[in-house]
C-alpha cells in the first residue's frame, strides 16, 4: 500500500515555483525584478531624505552629516549592489535582443555577477574608511 506523503519540505520542493528549483536564467530574471522594484522604491526614499535638508544651510549640513552615518552608508551599499546588478543584467538582456550570447546565457549571467561583485568590492573599499 502506498504511504501518504506529509513531509512539508518534500511538498515544497515538488513545486516549480520553489526557488530551489530555479535555473540560472530564472534567478537572473527574479533578481532583475526585485532589484528593479527596489530601485523604484529608492528613488522615492531618496527624494524624501534630500527634502529634509532644504530648510537652509544649517539643515543641509545636518542632512549631509546624517548621510555619512554608518546606517546610511550601509543602505547606500545595498542600493549600489542592486543598481550594479540591475544595470549589468540589463546590458545582458540588451545583448540578447541584439542576438548576442543567446546560446551562452548562463555564462553571461556569471559574467554579470563577477563584474558586479568586483565593482561592488572596489566601492566598499573606498567607502569603508569613512565608517
Amino acid at each position: 500500500m502506498p504511504e501518504r506523503v506529509t513531509d512539508p519540505s518534500v511538498l515544497r520542493r515538488s513545486r516549480d515555483t520553489w526557488p530551489g528549483n530555479y535555473k540560472v536564467g530564472m534567478w537572473a530574471w527574479v533578481l532583475h525584478r526585485i532589484t528593479g522594484l527596489g530601485l523604484v522604491l529608492y528613488i522615492f526614499l531618496h527624494i524624501l531624505v534630500i527634502s529634509t535638508g532644504l530648510a537652509g544651510p544649517a539643515s543641509f549640513d545636518e542632512m549631509l552629516h546624517r548621510l555619512h552615518s554608518p546606517v546610511f552608508l550601509v543602505m547606500d551599499s545595498v542600493v549600489l549592489a542592486g543598481a550594479l546588478y540591475h544595470s549589468l543584467n540589463g546590458i545582458r538582456l540588451l545583448l540578447f535582443d541584439l542576438g548576442i550570447g543567446v546560446r551562452r546565457q548562463r555564462e553571461m549571467f556569471w559574467a554579470v555577477m563577477v563584474v558586479a561583485v568586483a565593482l561592488f568590492l572596489v566601492a566598499v573599499a573606498k567607502v569603508a574608511p569613512l565608517l
Binding site: 502506498p2 504511504e3 501518504r4 506523503v5 518534500v10 511538498l11 520542493r13 515538488s14 513545486r15 516549480d16 515555483t17 520553489w18 530551489g20 528549483n21 535555473k23 540560472v24 536564467g25 530564472m26 537572473a28 530574471w29 538582456l93 540578447f96 535582443d97 542576438g99 543567446v102 546560446r103 546565457q105
Partner: protein, 234 residues
C-alpha cells in the same frame, strides 16, 4: 541501489479529495527510467495511477512531467540520475485531469494560432517540394520539437499571461518563417509580433533549459523579434 522511493502526485476530480502525493517503494534495476518505474507501480502495486505515454523513446512527447524539480520526459530520465528519491507530478500550470495527466487544450489552441503547417503559394508539385540541404540546415534545430509541453509549462510568462502563445508555438512559427518552402511569413509575423506573441518573452530561458530535445527555443524567439522589428521599420 536495490530499491527507491517513488512519490506520485495523486488527484481525481471525481472522488472529492484534495490532491496528495503517494509514496511507493520500487525495486530498482539497471537502466530503469522514470516511466518504467511508473509501470512497475501500475503493474504490481497500484493499478489506479494514471499517466500518459506512447513511444517510450523520447520522440512522441506524451510523458512530459515535473520530475525532481525539473520538467522532463519520464521515458528519457534515468532513475539513477535522480538518486533514491523520485518525486513525480503533472506538468505545472496546466489544468490537471487526473494524477499525472494534464489538459493540454491551451497548449494546442495556441499552437494552432500560428498556423503550424506549410503554406506555399505555388501549385502543389507532383512529388514533393525539394529543399537545399543548406536551407534545411537552418531549421534542423526547430524541427526537433516533439511538442511535449515542457517549455510551455516552465515559462513564467505563460504562468502569468493567459494569452501568451508560449515557447512551443512561437518556435514552430519560426520553424516555418525560416523554411525556404513557406510563403506565409508575413501572416505568421503578424500573429507573432504582438503582446501575446514574442514581445511577451522576457528571455528567462527556462524553455531552453528544460527542453528534452536540447532546443534553444529562446534563440528562435529572438530571431522572430529581430524579423518583427525589421518588418516594422523597413
Amino acid at each position: 541501489m536495490d530499491e527507491f522511493t517513488l512519490r506520485i502526485f495523486r488527484f481525481d476530480p471525481e472522488d472529492g479529495q484534495e490532491p496528495r502525493f503517494d509514496a511507493y517503494r520500487v525495486p530498482y534495476r539497471d537502466g530503469m527510467t522514470v516511466l518504467e518505474a511508473l509501470f512497475e507501480v501500475l503493474d504490481h502495486q497500484d493499478g489506479s495511477i494514471a499517466f500518459r505515454f506512447s513511444c517510450r523513446g523520447a520522440v512522441c512527447g506524451a510523458c512530459a512531467m515535473f520530475i525532481n524539480g525539473s520538467h522532463r520526459l519520464a521515458c528519457q530520465t534515468q532513475v539513477k540520475s535522480l538518486g533514491p528519491e523520485v518525486t513525480v507530478s503533472p506538468l505545472p500550470h496546466l489544468p490537471v485531469i487526473r494524477d499525472l495527466i494534464v489538459d493540454m487544450e491551451p497548449f494546442w489552441r495556441k499552437y494552432e494560432e500560428i498556423k503550424p503547417y506549410l503554406i506555399a503559394n505555388s501549385e502543389p508539385p507532383e512529388k514533393e517540394r525539394p529543399q537545399d540541404p543548406e536551407d534545411r540546415k537552418k531549421i534542423d534545430e526547430m524541427i526537433n520539437c516533439i511538442l511535449c509541453g515542457a517549455c510551455y509549462s516552465s515559462c513564467p510568462m505563460v504562468w502569468t499571461g493567459e494569452d501568451y502563445l508560449g515557447p512551443a508555438a512561437l518556435l514552430k512559427a519560426y520553424r516555418f518563417v525560416a523554411d525556404s518552402r513557406d510563403d506565409a511569413s508575413e501572416e505568421r509575423l503578424a500573429v507573432v509580433s504582438t503582446e501575446k506573441g514574442v514581445w511577451r518573452c522576457h528571455t528567462v530561458f527556462n524553455c531552453a533549459e528544460v527542453c528534452p530535445r536540447s532546443i534553444n527555443i529562446t534563440w528562435s524567439l529572438q530571431q522572430l523579434k529581430k524579423l518583427a522589428v525589421r518588418k516594422a521599420l523597413f
